[in-house]
Symmetry: C2
Subunit: 285 residues, 2 copies
């Protein structure tokens, strides 16, 4: 049971966790914290949070669990402001889509209290954002990756794991650097490609017609280009090395395809496409 | 009313048109033609076609309408084989995803009969293929683009248009070269990117784990990588110039993103992502 849960950043992710834990009946009180009073009022009126705070240090007082679900670029400031107010029994975890940068920010802000911070990443979300988009089943059968620190106590990690399981998620653990590479490939690179494709087509002269004749495949392919630009700017900046490494791998692959098209090398094109189809079909099963 | 419809290539597209026109009650008899006797038997037993032929010249005899729905690489041979057997009243149309190359093949094969060929492209399909995947509502509210030739009679174009409308589609007309560029952007390039991404990730060492942690966005983004490799090889080869032009535009865009990530230029990243989000959101409405 979580007596007092403090959620900093009450958007799609933070709001959905609050709703899921309330529904599971394992959370007595939810304090929502954020800079924007209006958004907090909406979260209050939607019943997502029980109390609103714009002062992070006040928000975390007496909390068992603090969940920080702000864009990666805002983590540092949040950590710095809550650090002095943290009680020794408070566990902090987060929803950051990259983990090395968040751990770095946390170490600098928390100092010797770093053992209270259990880094995490719920692999869930939609292309929507904001508390209005939150719903209590967002994490059902979704994966959450924890990248615990050496200094974390086993008990604290267990509590964070139990919280996510109560929200319906499957919890895995891995190293932070490995997490960042895996996510760069399966999430960050695809988003960059979708944004790039839509912006590229949008620059063409007859853009209205272009989109008019786009079919279902295009709709699915570009859905993630409706995602929050601030969040994705921050991911690119804060998971820079892994993102650049994956962009380079992708570039090598596209170069192979382009050379095969230029050379009219049907066998090479067939081989690449057939390998990809097999991998995608296997993955779907 | 179509007295005798001949469908050459009874797969997802050809089979679905047969089913749609039968359901609409505007087609008396459907002759299915293909090289593979076994697949034709399946089409017969599924009730998609009424008679099967492996000889294309025999198949088109007495047909009012011939619909050629084979991969782009197989069009030329089909046209060459049916050309001598075509009655003057027979209309030929096709489902090719690129139009310049099909028109070129048709001109060479049909000679003075080229006026009987009305080029078309139904923008429909799923990542499935084969007659088992065919269904009668595939073209409902989907678009079909006709790229008529100067030599086509208005009456023949009208009949092809009416056939697609009976199948539930909205029919547009445009020039073949323009069609090929528009489709290269909204369909051919996205497929190349999806195939490339999946193959690129599939080459990584810990590929099982990579796919394990892929979320819903990745699933949508890569769905089209399950498409038929033969069809997409042919599209790359037969719409080569437009595909290469679109790949170059995309390359320029990705280069901008990569430079911005390298330079940690958050404003530039935000601007690109926000423009893309707006375009994608507008397109969805």
């Amino acid at each position: 049971m979580i007596n007092r849960l403090c959620i900093i950043g009450v958007g799609l992710i933070g709001g959905s966790l609050a709703l899921a834990l309330k529904k599971a009946g394992i959370c007595r009180e939810v304090i929502g914290a954020g800079r924007n009073r209006e958004r907090l009022e909406r979260a209050l009126s939607l019943g997502v949070i029980d109390r609103a705070e714009t002062d992070y240090a006040r928000a975390v007082q007496q909390a068992d669990m603090v969940f920080v679900a702000v864009p990666l670029g805002a983590m540092k400031e949040v950590f710095e402001q809550i650090a002095p107010a943290l009680h020794p029994h408070t566990i902090i975890t987060d929803a950051g889509s990259a983990k090395m940068c968040v751990i770095d920010d946390a170490q600098k802000a928390f100092g010797i209290k770093i053992n209270q911070f259990v880094p995490g990443h719920p692999i869930a979300g939609t292309e929507q954002s904001g508390v209005e988009a939150a719903f209590d089943s967002l994490f059902q059968r979704r994966r959450v990756i924890l990248t615990p620190l050496e200094s974390n106590s086993a008990d604290d990690v267990k509590k964070v794991r139990a919280m996510w399981q109560a929200a319906g998620a499957e919890v895995d653990e891995m190293g932070a650097r490995h997490h960042d590479l895996v996510l760069a490939g399966t999430s960050h690179l695809p988003h960059i490609l979708a944004f790039s494709l839509v912006d590229c087509l949008n620059r063409l002269d007859d853009v209205d017609e272009i989109f008019k004749f786009a079919a279902g495949g295009f709709r699915d392919f570009t859905r993630i280009a409706s995602s929050d630009p601030t969040m994705w700017r921050d991911i690119c900046l804060h998971n820079r090395d892994a993102v650049l490494a994956m962009m380079q791998r992708f570039q090598n692959e596209v170069d192979e395809v382009r050379l095969a098209v230029e050379a009219e090398d049907g066998k090479q094109l067939y081989d690449i496409f057939a390998r990809a189809k097999k991998a995608r079909d296997d993955f779907s099963m």
